[in-house]
Subunit: 168 residues, 2 copies
């Protein structure tokens, strides 16, 4: 598998990602997508710049830590999630930024050769009262490894433009 | 300035970072450190791999978006925070992992040539009851730009080993 391959596993959206609006994010819907392989090289390269702790940058020293070997920076796992999320879930034509994230949890270590995918459950979709051309979508994001273990979980917010800004 | 230069501005820790334990994280203490310059190249390189949206990867297309120009992926800003946090704040000898982050908020866009620094306020330091060799430290992290505007805020948790595991 190509490590940059993030082909979707399943997708239940009614519209393609470049014609996707607030109305297409339906609370309760579950979307599963992406497949990215973690490599030792990427773990080390990322961590040297952004998270230079021994258990992320040095396989030999990592073996002597509580983790028993090299693990990915939790921020790299967030980055891999975002790659899958932006390629398969988040509208390419109506995304208006994200205010932030709640309840981010690193639940299991991510190691070289793990294969990650993403599952998103839409928790809430609320039309803005003050700016009716957009709405706020809250999504429970889970990143899973090849054993279907959840390694990362978070609750994301996205502001998304409406297809029909004048509708009530 | 070298873009990898993250020299501390101030530090009030009683101990150096390679001899720093749970006991050295005192609630109410404020630590300010780091200085990292954001470049267009790094914004684009990061986003091509982890967050391929036009306003992160393409200066020309970004000019036509609501942001009016290229902005850094919020996850890259998290990575730059982590670089400063791990170099100047988080113990190098007693860090036992982070369970996660709460209330992560991207408050202002981060643009090329911004210079970021980090301010940490220790919110809570609680000895573990079940595992008395460690404690949980909660830190309010803020990333500021060269105008002292807070661009990113979050509440982080870190498990940190105790200097005196047998003390009560």
């Amino acid at each position: 598998m190509n490590p940059t391959d993030t082909a979707p596993l399943t997708s239940r959206f009614p519209t393609p990602i470049d014609d996707r609006y607030f109305e297409d994010y339906v609370p309760g819907a579950v979307h599963r997508f992406g497949e990215m392989r973690v490599t030792e090289q990427e773990i080390v390269d990322f961590a040297r710049r952004y998270d230079p702790q021994d258990f992320h940058t040095d396989p030999a020293k990592a073996a002597g830590t509580i983790f028993g070997g090299l693990i990915a920076s939790g921020w790299m796992t967030c980055g891999m999630m975002m790659r899958m999320y932006s390629e398969h879930y988040l509208t390419h034509n109506a995304s208006l930024a994200s205010p932030g994230i709640d309840e981010l949890r690193w639940l299991k270590p991510v190691r070289p050769d793990d294969v990650l995918s993403t599952r998103v459950t839409i928790v809430e979709a609320r039309r803005s009262v003050s700016k009716p051309d957009r709405g706020l979508v809250r999504s429970r994001i889970e990143v899973l490894n090849q054993r279907d273990e959840v390694v990362l979980s978070m609750l994301a917010m996205n502001l998304i433009g409406c297809r029909n800004p004048s509708a009530n």
